[in-house]
Symmetry: C2
Amino acid sequence: MELIETTLSSEKIFDGRILHIRRDTVRLPDGSDATREVVDHPGGVCVLALDDENRALLVSQFRYPYKEVVREVPAGKLEYGEDPREAAIRELAEETGATAGEFRSLGELYPSPGYCGEIIRMYLARDLTFGETHLDKDEFLNLERIPFGQLVEQVVSGEIKDAKTIAVVLKGKLLLGL
Amino acid sequence: MELIETTLSSEKIFDGRILHIRRDTVRLPDGSDATREVVDHPGGVCVLALDDENRALLVSQFRYPYKEVVREVPAGKLEYGEDPREAAIRELAEETGATAGEFRSLGELYPSPGYCGEIIRMYLARDLTFGETHLDKDEFLNLERIPFGQLVEQVVSGEIKDAKTIAVVLKGKLLLGL
């Protein structure tokens, strides 16, 4: 079956600090028209960072949409035009103080393909050196080091719910035999 | 560190067909105020469905925000008030025609915790019986059956990018020894 939808028109709905929303009219594969509401996003990065004792760095932060503290790998949004790898190095340093001697890609993640075009690039960081953290002024988080095997157990048991953390931990385990 | 943010006020920004956006003012842990833009979402479900030959059911559909065809496990949004397990059974039947003799939870997923409160409940379905599909009128998709081991390889290699598909496939593999 032909699946492509083509854009007929696009209307800006909301231009916020974080969220940028548009509503497009599209031509469907059967020739009829429909609307598509889209969240535009600059893209993000996340990092599975392992120290010399094979402990992973996790951050806990209050995630307002859930009204709950969520444990995740270090992550952040790209600044517009920023190289993803540079962004991942920056976010890791800002949130955890770590810089990595080894930095490699673990692929891409589409978090919510139904309504948002965000691509999260995933990385593995090892050979870590620790300096000072530099958080944004409205960023509050707690830092934790957890043995990687224990983190895998928490992912498999369902205790870890963040999508990028589940993906990067289990891909790291299977791809690298960690 | 104390991480809780408390809501001071809430403003409705956009009430669309799919997207519902609000902007809240919150009190941060240090006593200062900030705004939080939030996408409200009824929640979703996804299903790793395996046939008697251990082949997984995948759907391919055009994901408009990426302007690309994306391969994913069968999934969908909850209707407001709908039980997640019933929704998963319904979505699997609508998209693939399959009903399952065995249906079990594989946990919860937070796709984009920075700005959206969506929870995706993940399920494993086996002992499948196939009938007719019933797609929504603006839903176009192609159905595929792929050996589960090959699907795991495509997840690990980065060919599969959808977050819920990566999570449910790798959790299924590790939790069930599939």
